[in-house]
Symmetry: C2
Subunit: 430 residues, 2 copies
C-alpha cells in the first residue's frame, strides 16, 4: 500500500480557532480526562470533519469505522497501543474475538480495511477470526486481495447463547458492520459481549441524538476555552415525519431549512463571512452518504422531482427514510491539487490514532464528499494528531491536533448518546 504523503491540505497560517485550540491544550486534555473518568469510550470511531477556516465541526460520527487501510502505516503502532487499551477496558479477559464485517466480498478497499483491522487486533494480542453474516459463506473462504494480502472469511454460527466462527468460540464480538439492515437474529441476546453494542446500529441510532449530545459537549467545551460554541457546532433541526415518495412533510422540512438558513445567515453577518449559507438535508439514520442533499433555498425541498425524491427516500440496505436532519452546511476550504478535501479522524478507545483526507476532484466545497459511487482518493495524514508545537505556528501537526480535539468531542458525544439510548439502562430505570 503506498499512501501519498502531503503535509496538510490547508496551507497558510493557522486561523484563529486552531490557534485557540492549540493554546488551550493543557486545559483541554485535563477536561477530556475528567469527562472519561466516569464513562467508557466506544471501542472505535471515525469522525468526518469539515474545516471552513472560521469553523471546524464534525458532520458524521461512525461507530463501525471502515477505512483503517487509509491510515498512514506509520501510525500502526499507535493503533495497536490504543487497541490494547480498548481491549483492557472492554474485555480484559478476551483471548479470542469474532470480527463481524460488512457483507462485502468484492470491495477491495473494504476487505483491505479488514486485513488492517485484523492485524491491529492480533498485534494487540487477541486471536481474531472473521465471522461473516453472508449466507454464501458456509465454510472457510480465502480471498486473495489485490494488495497481495489474504483474508479468511468464515461463517458466523449460533450455538445456544453464543456465537462461534467456524467452530472457534470467541470471548467477544467486534462489529465492523453498521447493522443498517437491523440487528440480525444471530447476534441477539448473546452471552458474549458485543462491541459496539447493538443499539449503535443504524436501525436504532439517530444522527439527531448524536448531534444533540454533541451540542451539549460543544457548549461545555466552548465555555472552557472561551469561544463561541457555533465555531465548532453546526446548527441542526430534526424533521420526524416525512415521506418523500408520498410528498408528505415537505412543509415541515421547508420550515426547518428556512429557519436553519436564517440562523446561519445571522452568524455569517456577525462574523463578516461573505458566503452563501447552505444546509445539508440527510436521513437521520443511515450512512454511506446516501440520502443526502445540499440546499441553499427552502423552496428547493418543495419542488423535488421524482429522481431527487427517489434518491432521498431510501438509504443503504433499503432502509426507508422517514426522519431527516437539516444540518448547517460547512464549506470545506481545504483542498489538495485543486480538489476539495475533508478530514476524517480515526480513534480507538479514547485515543486519536490517525486520519486521512477524503479528496474529491468532482465535487464542490458545499457538497458531501462521502457519496456512493464516487471515487475519493484517501490522503493519509502525514503526522499524528498528538504532537503539536506551539512554538511553530505553521506546522501541520498543529492543524491535526485541532482536528483531534474536535473529533474527540464527537467521540464523547457518541459515548453519551450510547448511554442514553441503551435499552438495558432504560429497563433498569423503569
Amino acid at each position: 500500500m503506498t499512501v501519498p504523503r502531503l503535509t496538510t491540505a490547508l496551507a497558510g497560517p493557522l486561523p484563529d480557532l486552531e490557534r485557540r485550540l492549540l493554546a488551550s491544550q493543557a486545559d483541554t486534555e485535563h477536561w477530556l480526562r475528567g469527562q472519561w473518568q466516569d464513562r467508557g469510550a466506544p471501542f472505535y470511531c471515525s469522525v468526518d470533519l469539515r474545516n471552513s477556516g472560521f469553523k471546524i465541526a464534525p458532520v458524521d460520527t461512525n461507530l463501525f469505522p471502515a477505512g483503517f487501510n487509509n491510515l498512514n502505516p506509520q501510525f500502526h503502532p499507535l493503533c495497536v497501543q490504543a487497541a490494547m487499551s480498548a481491549i483492557e477496558k472492554a474485555c480484559p479477559d478476551a483471548r479470542g474475538m469474532a470480527l463481524v464485517p460488512e457483507n462485502h466480498t468484492r470491495n477491495q478497499h473494504y476487505l483491505q480495511n479488514l486485513v488492517v483491522l485484523q492485524t491491529i487486533l492480533r498485534n494487540a494480542g487477541v486471536n481474531v477470526r472473521i465471522g461473516s453474516l453472508l449466507r454464501e459463506i458456509t465454510a472457510a473462504t480465502e480471498v486473495q486481495l489485490e494488495s497481495g494480502a489474504k483474508l479468511k472469511l468464515e461463517p458466523l454460527e449460533r450455538r445456544g447463547n453464543r456465537v462461534a466462527v467456524n467452530g472457534f468460540d470467541p470471548c467477544v464480538v467486534l462489529l465492523n458492520n453498521d447493522l443498517s439492515a437491523g440487528a440480525p437474529e444471530i447476534l441477539m441476546n448473546l452471552e458474549q459481549g458485543v462491541l459496539p453494542p447493538l443499539h449503535a446500529g443504524w436501525t436504532v441510532r439517530r444522527k439527531s441524538h448524536h448531534f444533540a449530545a454533541y451540542r451539549e459537549v460543544a457548549e461545555e467545551f466552548a465555555k472552557l476555552i472561551g469561544i463561541d460554541p457555533w465555531l465548532i457546532n453546526p446548527y441542526f433541526e430534526k424533521c420526524g415525519k416525512i415521506n418523500f415518495q408520498e410528498r408528505k412533510g415537505e412543509e415541515c422540512l421547508e420550515g426547518f431549512v428556512a429557519e436553519t438558513l436564517d440562523d446561519i445567515r445571522a452568524k455569517y453577518r456577525e462574523y463578516g463571512i461573505k458566503h452563501d449559507p447552505f444546509v445539508i438535508v440527510k436521513a437521520d439514520a443511515g450512512t454511506y452518504g446516501m440520502g443526502v442533499m445540499t440546499v441553499k433555498d427552502p423552496a428547493e425541498v418543495r419542488g423535488l422531482n421524482r429522481k431527487q425524491r427517489n434518491k432521498m427516500a431510501v438509504v443503504k440496505e433499503g432502509l426507508e427514510v422517514h426522519e431527516v436532519m437539516v444540518q448547517e452546511g460547512i464549506y470545506t476550504f481545504e483542498s489538495v491539487d485543486d480538489a476539495v478535501a475533508e478530514p476524517v479522524v480515526y480513534m480507538i478507545d479514547r485515543y486519536v490514532v490517525g486520519g486521512f483526507y477524503r479528496v474529491h476532484t468532482e465535487r464542490g466545497q458545499d457538497q458531501n464528499l462521502n457519496a456512493p459511487g464516487m471515487q475519493f482518493k484517501p490522503l493519509a495524514f502525514a503526522d499524528p494528531c498528538s504532537s503539536p508545537n506551539p512554538d511553530d505556528p505553521g506546522c501541520p501537526p498543529n492543524r491535526f491536533y485541532a482536528y483531534g480535539v474536535i473529533a474527540r468531542l464527537a467521540l464523547l458525544a457518541a459515548a453519551i448518546e450510547l448511554e442514553r439510548t441503551d435499552p438495558e439502562a432504560e429497563k433498569t430505570e423503569a
Copy 2:
C-alpha cells in the same frame, strides 16, 4: 537529532526462544492484561536486556529512565499516547507537573532527554515545569542546548506541605532523578503525589528485591508458554555484608560466585552451550554502571587490588557499597558494525514505546555496556515492539516484540517490587 537507522543488530533467522515468544503472543498479552488488572504500572521504566541468542533477559530495570532522546522520533506519538494513559491512571486531575531532574547542568545528552520528556508530557496535556534540586539554580535559568533546543531550569521550592516550581504549584511531581543521594527533605511528606514513589530511589531500592520479584514473574510466565524459566531469567545471589575497603565478606562473595558459576555451567551443559560462564558482581543499590565487574573465576574476587576495590566500594553520589549482587552474566551476541550492542527498551505506563541499542566499540561480549565515562552510540530501534509478523520469520519487528515481552516482565516485577517495599503498605498491615 539524526538517528542512524539499522534494521536490527542480530541478523539471521530468529532463534527458538524468539520464535516461541512470537507464537505465544495472544496468550502472553492475555496473561499480561490479567496481571495488570489489579496493580498499577510504574509511570515509566527502561530495561537493559541482554540477548545471547539462546537466552534473553533483563539485567537492569531503571525506574527513572533518562535517554528518551535516544528513541526514534517516529515513536514520539506512541510516547504521548502512553503518557496520556499513565497520567489518566496516576493523576487524572493533574493539570500541572513538576519534573525533577538529575543534578546535571552540562550533560547535553541528559538535558536533551529532559527536552524530549517535557515535550511528551506537554503533548499529553499537562503543564510541565522543570524543578531543579540544585542550589545554584535560584531563578529561572535558560540553557541553550547544542541541539538548538532551549531548556528552562527553575528552582524547586517548598511551601508548607507542597512544592512549587518558581511559584508554579504543580498537582504532581514526576521524578527523573534516581535519588541516589537519598530522598531530599524537600520531597518528604508532600501533599502532592510523587511519581515514581520515593521508595523507588536507590537509597531504598535493591536490585535483589527486583530480581527476586522478576524470578517469580519469569517462572509463572515460562510455565504459561512452556519454556525453561532459565531462558529468560539470570541466576542471582545476594551477598549482604561486604566491605571492599576493609576486605570483609570476600569469602561469602567468593562462595556465591562459585555457586552461581556452577549453576550456569550445568545449564550450559544441558543446552550444549560452548561458552565460558561468567557472572557480574554489582552493587545491590545504585546505577549508572558504577560498581560493576565481570568475573569468570571465584578466585578473582578474593585477590582484588586496591584500584579494583576502590572501583567497587563506592557508586554514584558517593553511596557506599555493602551489599552486592552476583548475577549470571549473559553474553551479548548482538553487534552492529563489529561493536557489541545491547538493547534498552522504554516503557511508559504498561506500554512499550521504543528502544535503542547501546553500542560499544571498546567492550567485549561479556562486559557491562553501561559504564561511566564510556561513550556509547545509541541506535534507535527502527521499528516499534508491537508489530510482529508471524508470517515473516526474519523481520526485525519480531525480535523487537520478543524484547518488548521480556521488558514488560521486568516492568511487572518492578510493580510487584514497589508494592512489597512500600513503607505505607507496611504501616497499614502492622
